[in-house]
């Protein structure tokens, strides 16, 4: 294994640059180092102005998502040795399809707004009194939504989905998967309130099942599956509403 590797990192300073450019840094390769370690090494020893987000460094906070050689990845989970093997370079860029604030930091307020719009919280029909105790759920009931609850909001799926790039109004994989996580939760009865934003051309119907979101998700949430499942549920609801409304009119 080579003992040094070159990182080409996208830099953008709004006060000085019109558009991003690349700076090259040579970084020592340690067996256990990830790209985040390399970035920290550069910031500590070479260029303190390098700007990026990170926190837990163990794949649960969702802060350190970046494009590594054109692929959306969590930099705390991407080993340098994978790229050093072929004597390759590592190209680090901010996540695709988001506005860039500075260097590797993306502007997430649009994503957060979409997240709020889908109402990702429990909406029980009748809030039981505290004295009644906890909600009870069987393992099967948990299993129905568990996979979709694994989302860490890292937005790698948004960087992978071409629709979010082409159509910025598209609600997006993570938001829809999280909405579905609550729709499938037995404690929640708020499905009707989420319909307006989901069963909408900018909601699930904007998705063309490219499937990239599922492929890049570091927590195996399968947002593409969540979206297709909701599409079928929405169509069945629509058919049901046709039948019931006909019954009511006669």
């Amino acid at each position: 294994m080579a003992d040094k590797i070159t990182l080409e990192i996208a830099r953008y300073s709004p006060e000085q640059d019109r558009e991003p450019h690349f700076d090259s840094f040579e970084v020592p390769v340690h067996k256990e180092w990830v790209v985040l370690d390399a970035l920290n090494h550069i910031k500590d020893n070479v260029d303190g102005t390098l700007t990026y987000r990170w926190s837990c460094r163990m794949g649960i906070c969702g802060s350190c998502g970046m494009m590594v050689n054109g692929e959306p990845k969590l930099t705390c989970a991407t080993f340098l040795s994978t790229y050093a093997k072929n004597g390759g370079k590592i190209r680090v860029e901010p996540l695709r399809y988001f506005p860039i604030v500075r260097d590797l930091v993306t502007e997430l307020s649009d994503f957060l707004a979409k997240l709020v719009k889908v109402k990702p919280w429990l909406m029980p029909k009748n809030e039981p009194p505290l004295a009644q105790g906890e909600f009870l759920q069987t393992p099967e009931q948990v299993d129905r939504y568990k996979q979709f609850s694994m989302c860490i909001n890292c937005t790698l799926c948004y960087a992978a989905c071409p629709v979010t790039g082409l159509d910025p109004v598209f609600v997006g994989p993570a938001a829809i998967a999280l909405a579905q996580r609550y729709n499938l939760d037995s404690r929640d009865q708020g499905e009707a309130e989420r319909t307006a934003i989901l069963a909408h051309p900018d909601g699930v119907w904007g998705c063309t099942f490219v499937g990239e979101c599922t492929r890049v998700c570091p927590k195996h949430v399968d947002p593409a599956g969540a979206i297709q499942q909701y599409k079928i549920a929405a169509v069945l609801d629509w058919l049901k509403s046709l039948v019931t409304s006909r019954g009511q009119s006669t």
């Binding site: 558009e19 860039i100 502007e107 099967e140 299993d143 599956g225 297709q228």
Partner: protein, 142 residues
């Protein structure tokens, strides 16, 4: 723009950094193999439409009589049409395989509390495909 008023009070525009908004190129789908595979999968629908148009021509020839049908069969032997049909055949089969493989993620099935693996849900579609194709062959080749 800050403006002074006669009373000396000043209003400021809050500072907003200039975010860089990258444009998505029209050639976005050529940039990555996964994207290209997606577009090819979607373009298989063109092969599907091509097949339907050919079939309509065939039905029209059948409708017009034995000479028209013979003329149609003759045109189908042209190298251009054979080539187009060969390409369409691959695209149509590509559609079938990708369709069957993607359907399970849209319809997760749970049995005895566990999720049935996708391959098991896709398998009956393939079996049905073979059976249906065999029936069509039997009917046409009799």
């Amino acid at each position: 723009m800050s403006e002074g008023t006669s009373k000396g009070a000043v209003s400021y525009t809050p500072f907003h950094p200039r975010w860089y908004r990258p444009r998505v190129s029209v050639y976005w789908w050529l940039g990555e193999w996964h994207y290209l595979k997606f577009i090819l999968r979607e373009l298989s629908s063109v092969a599907v439409a091509f097949f339907v148009i050919e079939t309509l021509f065939m039905l029209s020839a059948l409708h017009d009589g034995p000479e028209a049908y013979m003329h149609f069969q003759h045109s189908m032997r042209s190298p251009l049409l054979i080539a187009l049909n060969l390409i369409s055949f691959f695209f149509v089969v590509f559609h079938t395989i990708t369709w069957f493989n993607l359907a399970p993620s849209a319809m997760p099935i749970r049995m005895a509390g566990k999720r049935v693996p996708d391959a098991l849900i896709a398998a009956p579609s393939y079996v049905a495909w073979v059976v249906v194709s065999a029936c069509v062959c039997w009917l046409v080749l009799r």
